[in-house]
């Protein structure tokens, strides 16, 4: 490899590392980029930020899930304990999506009343156990994954 190309390649490899570390430092250390916002923060949106594409994380409220056959879709409510927002979605949600579990939805709070979601991601807890234990009513020592959903 010619000397000049080699120097360029070394510079590229250093830039790769510096850039990725810089992204981490700027993106995550200062809370400029937050992976998702909470329903309370969505409620505080003004008409200028309605069209912004955001991710919202929270718990799916028990008993709020309603599905519709044509076109296939569903509506439910998402809460962070303090505030609750209605969410609508068209399509089939992931199989692990469930009432009383965490979920992260991507979309827009466009009319200021309903969150129109284009993608649903199901958050699952770090609890793992077989069906027999679950049916026997065993609770594992920790059940606080709301912790990572609350700010």
């Amino acid at each position: 490899m010619p000397n000049k190309n080699r120097k360029v390649a070394i510079a590229v490899s250093l830039l790769l590392v510096a850039g990725s570390l810089g992204y981490l430092a700027l993106g995550n250390f200062g809370e400029n980029i937050v992976y998702f916002v909470t329903p309370s923060e969505v409620k505080a949106f003004t008409s200028e930020t309605y069209t912004k594409k955001v991710r919202v994380g929270g718990m799916v409220v028990e008993g709020s899930l309603k599905t519709q056959p044509e076109p296939v879709g569903l509506t439910f409510e998402l809460t962070d304990g303090a505030a609750t927002i209605p969410v609508s979605f068209q399509g089939i949600p992931p199989d692990l999506f469930k009432e009383g579990q965490g979920a992260v939805v991507e979309g827009q709070w466009n009319d200021g009343h309903t969150f129109r979601s284009t993608m649903i991601m199901a958050k699952h807890s770090e609890d793992y156990m077989p069906m027999e234990l679950k049916r026997a009513g065993v609770e594992l020592p920790k059940k606080d994954f709301m912790k990572t959903l609350a700010p």
């Binding site: 490899s13 992976y35 199901a122």
Partner: protein, 241 residues
Amino acid sequence: MLNRFIRYIQRYKGWFGGAAAICIFLGLYTGLLASPPDYYQGELVRIMYVHVPLAHTSTLAYSVLFFGSIWYLWKRDPLVDNMCQAAAGICALFTALALVTGSIWAKPTWGAWWTWDPRLVSFSVLLLILGGYLMLRKLVDDRESGGRYAAILAIVGGIDLPIIKFSVEWWRTLHQPMSFSTRGVSISDDMVIPLTLMSIGAWLLFAYMVMVRTQILYLTDLLQAKKGRLFSQTHFSQTSP
């Protein structure tokens, strides 16, 4: 003529390889056949038995690289440099596999192959850092300065380790938090067995692979030296540091 440590490796590496093979075979058997499916995820929980050991072995591998780099800058022992380079290569393999298996697990559970979650981003940054490290090693001709630059780069990149570890605790994230923590274990006993076996197997496998790769790098250097392409006084002397 061979370095003392290389002889030790040649003599004892088989024990690590054998132990790793036994642990991984038992882990695969319990993980695939003898353990029950999860009440909520079903059979998908079995992906955990490969994903989690791969992921934390790759952070262990990076720790080896990190402390090895400090040691190299301090003592300037070329064999330590070989060991660092070996650890970086193996770490890259483990990291890449952890990312891919994580992605395969995420699609049917979360519902997406990839998302800009802090844990996922910080872990991918580890792969980028390792890519930069290995590129640098390949491109700098001079061994001594190349090793020095690479060591500095590995030490700077070390700040990613605590970020990965605590990303699920510090920030809002989709990734599930640690199942083993001071608050208790939230995995049932039947599932802890394959996870433990596979974790121990992955550590031993990493140790074995680093030994073999260190040998490769050292022997390559030795061959180069014999052919008159590399001059290093300390590298091939009988005395150990």
